[in-house]
């Protein structure tokens, strides 16, 4: 029997969570030993994982500022994880006092933590929903309160789509979200890919195996498949590029080799 939508899954903190692993990579302590153990295992294969995460965060920061510069001040961040420093709402609200941010995650602990962090922030909220069910995101009361879907929205899918397996139809989910957003909306996206890693695929595959073992499979996609997420969007310059190459503010050649591990791009809905 399929679990009804209103029946939540249980909370089991003995199972590693990608949100908390991510926090660990970023030097945070919002994690448990199971998370750290998984993270350390993955780092045995790819020691630069923290740099990858940092590079993602740096891209996100540049992209959010870009969005505000473009006049887009509504942000829908799906797969937001454990809120840590330099979050979307911090960057966005620093750049524009009008900025509104809706975080979405399906990890109940991440959501509970976000609620605690965002308490008292009227212009930001979190909703427990799944990227694979866009209707749950768009139909939430928080979305109704924070987002005006008649005005452009910046949809952030940073470091999340590579956790959606093909059978869950990530392209369909993105298209569904796209269709709900007005023209002028932005898609801010990063995605892991073997092509971008400074290591042989077999080595990276070890880290991928760790994620598979914790039942959060990491799906590395080639560039053209990542590009397909932008169907219905027009990529802004410089297009779909390696993370640090997207509108860099400092010389790209000074970046750590691991910082290039992933594609990043921003598209505008026609």
């Amino acid at each position: 029997m399929e679990r009804p939508a209103w029946a939540p899954s249980g909370i089991d903190i003995s199972v590693p969570s990608v949100s908390r692993i991510y926090d660990y990579y970023l030097g945070g302590s919002h994690n448990f030993e199971v998370d750290r153990e998984a993270a350390r295992k993955a780092m045995e294969f790819v020691p630069g994982l923290p740099k990858v995460m940092q590079s993602n965060r740096a891209f996100m920061r540049r992209a959010v500022r870009f969005a505000v510069d473009e006049g887009v001040t509504q942000f829908l961040d799906i797969g937001s994880g454990i809120p840590t420093f330099g979050n979307v709402h911090e960057v966005a609200q620093a750049a524009s006092p009008d900025a509104r941010v809706l975080y979405v995650d399906h990890d109940p602990v991440a959501v509970a933590h976000s609620e605690a962090v965002l308490a008292g922030n009227a212009a930001a909220a979190v909703v427990a929903a799944d990227l694979r069910k866009p209707a749950d995101v768009l139909g939430s009361p928080q979305a109704a309160r924070l987002l005006d879907l008649d005005r452009p929205v910046a949809l952030l899918l940073v470091s999340v789509l590579h956790f959606v397996e093909e059978q869950d139809e990530p392209h369909r989910a993105v298209a569904e979200l796209r269709d709900a957003l007005p023209s002028g909306s932005l898609l801010i996206l990063t995605h892991a890919s073997y092509e971008t890693m400074p290591l042989p695929q077999e080595t990276v595959g070890g880290a991928v195996g760790v994620y598979r073992d914790i039942r959060n499979p990491l799906v590395m996609r080639p560039k053209d498949e990542v590009a397909r997420f932008f169907d219905g969007f027009e990529l802004v310059a410089p297009g779909l590029v390696k993370l640090p190459e997207w509108r860099p503010e400092t010389p790209v050649e000074q970046e750590d080799p691991y910082a290039f591990s992933g594609f990043a791009g921003v598209g505008r809905k026609a």
Binding site: P4, P8, S9, I11, S29, F32, Q54, F85, A116, E249
Partner: protein
């Protein structure tokens, strides 16, 4: 923008302004520091931004290096600030300490202000403080974050438990409040859980259900598939099934349900439980049975009605197998209408109820049924297999016998008789229920017209006749339109001289299937449907036209008369006179050449209103003949007041004269009639003359004209023509 560093480890230059010099050195220090630790931070700031972030801390450290009294607190704060800036990696501390150790005195020391040893010592103590501040900040942050994430995990778990609890509460509410009975059992059939509705359905005592096994509930009226499907379900071969199933309640009464059983599987898909949903349909079923009963039974007598009878008859007729037979008695009470009319409907109804009871007592054997079709029509059906001799006849005799006992009604004894049409035959035949019933109906009428209080057996020929009568009736209107009627003429001969005096027009129907039909076959039908009026008009028109033709082409032989029959309905038709006048005027025939024949019976008891049109016609000169005279009970005295000029003696008189010797009484009667007629100025025509002796005798008795086979059979108009020519010769 922070100044771009010119290079690490370079000797500081000596600008003129000491403040500017210090600021420049502070920036250089920040550049070196940021380069050292940026790679090990997790910040999302760019390196230049990060460097700018470090600048105030360099000033703090620089200030602390020289402050008097010496205070390490600023270094402590810087250590903590590093943690706040997400430089939580231990390498960030060691690299920071390395940079401070190597460059703080070099860039921020004021040469000559303090002894070099003191600056080194101060720098060392600042490093200790910075390290302590970092450690304390990191410890604080770690504890805070650990606590925060633990709290979040607890909150999430609490929320999940709450939601789960709400889910369960909702499920419980659905389970408890459902209008359908819900039960869960394991795969061995042991009942694990039942809801209140199910308990109430079974009589309200939970122990009747708990600890019971599903297989205890085998019921004799279970559908044939129920337990097979149950077996498939618990073996995991089917996901669900839905049946109508009866149960015994605790008190032994029947509980009828719409039962839906589903298989519940575990997470791995293995069958685990069975879930039964039951809807109590007992009352609905009773209601349906009652509605079905009402729809198939007669409200007055309680007997099966027409609907049920046809269902059974249908089944009986469709029954396969060579030896299956059916028999049917169609009963109509004799004279029931009179009882109803004289005693009232209520008495009539009670009579029907009594008759129904008696009939029911006649058909008590298996395979027998009695139904009321409506009014006073009943039917008894028997579907017993062949073997018993004349089963159906026996049934009919039983029915007549039970009816022969008088019925007491309101202190009166009523004798009720019935006429029965009996049909029997093999099942699986070609006849439809409607055909069988029609045959029974026709046969019943035969019994009735034979005097009633009897049964008749269906006879295919009699049926065919009746069926043809039905067919003819419906075909009549189209036949007139299509010109299927024609007229034959039979000569009327003067008995005195043997000349042709005229002819009687006799209508025939050339039916496409049945061939030529005489008037006796269709005139009563036309009379019944009213088609006689247009048909009669056509005959009159045609005959008059023909007479006019003869008279014109044969003017020397004196006027030739044409006799046309008028039926009772035509007699009553208000257009009779006008139509006749119209026909005569159009053809130009002398009214005196037309004779309309009216039967004696049509004029019995005729009042002046009915006679008026005939009188009008007679006044115009049209002869009126009284046809079939002597068959009815006419009042001879009445003859005077009828506008009649001709009597046509019925053929029964002439038949009496064919015997040898002729009955003298017959002769006297005819002689008397002729004498009477002549005294009333009426001429006498005789029909059915077949021999010369007859003709001679009738002439001697004084009859005026005759017709019959002796002279000519009815024939085509040209036959008359040739007879006329023969006369003329």
């Amino acid at each position: 923008m922070p100044a771009r560093p010119s290079g690490s480890g370079a000797e500081p230059e000596e600008p003129a302004d000491p403040d500017l010099v210090l600021e420049d050195r502070i920036r250089r220090f920040a550049t070196i520091w940021s380069r050292a630790i940026f790679p090990v931070t997790a910040t999302s700031l760019t390196r230049p931004e990060f460097e700018g972030h470090l600048l105030p801390w360099v000033r703090e450290l620089s200030g602390a290096l020289h402050r008097r009294p010496f205070d390490t607190q600023p270094a402590h704060r810087v250590g903590a600030a590093l943690v706040d800036a997400h430089c939580t990696d231990p390498d960030a501390l060691s690299r920071t300490l390395g940079v401070v150790d190597s460059y703080l005195v070099l860039y921020c020391g004021r040469p000559g202000a303090e002894p070099a040893e003191e600056l080194r010592a101060r720098c060392a103590r600042l490093q200790h403080a910075l390290a302590a501040g970092f450690a304390r900040g990191l410890r604080q942050r770690t504890l805070t974050e650990q606590e925060a994430i633990a709290r979040s995990a607890l909150a999430a778990r609490a929320a999940a438990e709450e939601a789960l609890h709400a889910t369960e509460a909702r499920f419980r509410a659905v389970f408890d409040g459902a209008a359908v009975g819900i039960g869960i059992a394991d795969l061995d059939g042991n009942i694990l859980e039942v809801n209140g509705t199910l308990t109430r359905m079974f009589g309200g005592l939970e122990h009747h259900l708990r600890n019971r096994n599903v297989t205890d509930w085998v019921h004799p009226e279970d559908g044939p598939q129920v337990w097979r499907m149950y077996g498939e379900l618990i073996r995991g071969e089917r996901e669900n099934f839905r049946v109508e199933k009866p149960y015994y309640r605790g008190d032994g009464t029947a509980l009828w349900t719409n039962l839906s059983v589903s298989l519940l599987r575990d997470a791995e898909g293995r069958p685990q439980y069975q879930l039964a949903l039951m809807e109590d349909t007992t009352e609905r079923r009773l209601l349906n049975l009652r509605l079905r009963y009402e729809a198939t039974h007669d409200a007055l007598t309680g007997l099966p009605n027409r609907t049920l009878f046809f269902e059974r008859l249908d089944k009986a007729l469709a029954a396969a197998g060579g030896d299956a037979r059916f028999g049917l008695c169609y009963l109509d009470l004799d004279g029931f209408k009179a009882i109803n009319d004289s005693l009232g409907h209520s008495a009539g109804d009670r009579l029907l109820v009594e008759v129904a009871d008696r009939l029911q007592s006649c058909a008590t054997r298996p395979g027998e049924m009695v139904a009321r079709l409506g009014g006073d029509e009943f039917v008894a059906l028997t579907t017993r297999p062949v073997g018993q001799d004349d089963e159906t006849g026996e049934l009919a005799r039983r029915i007549l016998s039970v009816l022969s006992v008088p019925i007491r009604l309101d202190g009166r004894e009523l004798t009720v008789r019935g006429s029965i049409g009996l049909v029997e035959g093999p099942a699986g035949g070609e006849r439809s229920p409607a055909e069988v019933l029609r045959s029974a109906d026709i046969t019943m009428y035969r019994a009735k017209s034979a005097g009633g209080n009897r049964y008749e057996r269906a006879d295919p020929e009699a049926d065919a006749r009746a069926i043809t009568r039905h067919g003819l009736t419906t075909a009549l209107p189209a036949a007139l339109e299509r010109g299927e009627f024609f007229i034959e003429y039979q000569p009327l001969v003067h008995l005195g001289d043997g000349t042709v005096h005229g002819a009687e027009a006799l209508v025939r129907w050339c039916h496409p299937q049945h061939g030529v039909l005489g008037p006796d076959r269709f005139i009563p039908l036309a009379e019944h449907t009213g088609l006689i009026v247009p048909l009669g008009r056509w005959v009159l028109q045609e005959a008059v036209r023909q007479a006019r033709f003869w008279n014109r082409s044969h003017s020397d032989g004196g006027p030739l008369r044409i006799n046309v029959n008028l039926s009772p309905t035509q007699l009553h038709h208000p257009g009779l006179v006008a139509d006749t006048v119209d026909v005569l005027e159009r053809s130009g025939l002398d009214p005196g050449a037309l004779c309309l024949e009216v039967t004696e019976s049509a004029l019995i008891g005729a009042d002046e209103d009915l006679l008026k049109p005939l009188r009008q016609l007679a006044e115009m000169g049209v002869d009126i003949a009284l046809d079939d005279f002597g068959t009815g009970y006419s009042n001879l005295a009445n003859l005077r007041r009828l506008p009649v000029s001709v009597l046509k003696l019925d053929r029964s008189f002439t038949q009496g004269m064919q015997t040898h010797p002729v009955d003298p009484v017959d002769l006297k009667i005819v002689e008397g009639i002729v004498s009477l007629a002549h005294s009333l100025q009426l001429t006498v025509t005789v029909e059915g003359v077949e021999t010369g002796a007859q003709a001679e005798q009738l002439r001697e008795l004084g009859c005026d004209t005759a017709q019959g086979w002796y002279y000519a059979r009815p024939g085509a108009p040209d036959r008359i023509h040739s007879l006329l020519l023969a006369d003329a010769v």
